[in-house]
């Protein structure tokens, strides 16, 4: 499975929970015992097993554009991209 990672801008998050409700891997949770600078419970990634695939669904629904999504580039996708560009 493709490996992904998300970085959440904690202080921009308003704790609306939408990202956690759409995540297909259920690896985004609201930090119930933490507050950010605005006083909201921010979303956080809890992914000890590396289940995040970098599908970017959370970033698509985030109303505050807090989420940056990264995905591992595998040898295969590299080869495909090079074939397409040539």
């Amino acid at each position: 499975m493709t490996m992904g990672r998300i970085i959440i801008n904690r202080d921009r998050c308003k704790g609306c929970t939408l990202c956690s409700t759409v995540c297909p891997q259920n690896v985004i949770f609201m930090a119930e015992n933490q507050l950010n600078a605005k006083g909201y419970h921010p979303a956080m990634l809890v992914d000890p097993d590396g289940a995040c695939t970098g599908c970017a669904v959370c970033a698509v629904i985030c109303p505050d554009v807090c989420i940056t999504v990264y995905r591992e580039t595998t040898q295969r996708t590299k080869a495909v991209r090079e074939a397409v560009t040539i």
Binding site: R5, T17, L18, V22, I61, P63, T68, V69, Y70
Partner: protein, 259 residues
Amino acid sequence: MELVMTPTEMQVVYEHPRSLADVPTRYCPGCTHGIAHRLLAEAIDELGLLERTILVAPVGCSVFAYEYFNADACQAAHGRAPAMATGVKRMLPENIVITYQGDGDLVSIGAAEIMHAAARGEQITTIFINNAVYGMTGGQMAPTSLPGQKTTSSPLGRDTHLTGAPIRMSEVLAQFDGAAYIVRRSLHDVANIRKAKKAILTALKVQMAGLGFSMVELLSSCPTNWGIAPEKALDWIEENMIPHFPLGDYKVRDDVKAL
């Protein structure tokens, strides 16, 4: 095998669009205005229009839209964004002029302006956010409020005998010959958000090709004034708004289909 998972070694697949200013918005948690802003910014980025985009902000929650985009922008009197955009576009025809309006602005006080802009076939693009309520002023009944919907000015629910039925603006504007592209999309889930972005891209292409007036209506949520959680508000759009405001393409002229 040890996996080293640092972002620098990975490819960015989703990040903050360049056209969107890197500032916090004043919208409530879970408000889909933020999603609509991001989609518009992504569309402007993808078409490379940032340097020649002029945004006209409305009155309403999105009154500060000019602060949230890196494009040039101005702010119109309540409902008059299409009139201001008409003037801007006629004086600067090379620029891409976009109005961003809510339902209290566009369907109520600005109904005449938007209809005449569409009838004249002005070369502007309108992003119409329909959330069935007046957001900024405290959740009063809008012309788009649903029958029976409780708002601060209709505490017993909207009485259609007294206040009429919701106005479906996309259907109205589709009647005008000057309108080239009129569609309604929703922001209640990821698949529909992706469709909404495609529609915004098409609307901007219509303006780039000079084909006429284009508008994308986006069904949007207002968790604060509806009095429900953001997640439930998205369900509310699907269950209550879409039956009254069916999604679809209301006007796609043949020259737009050929784009």
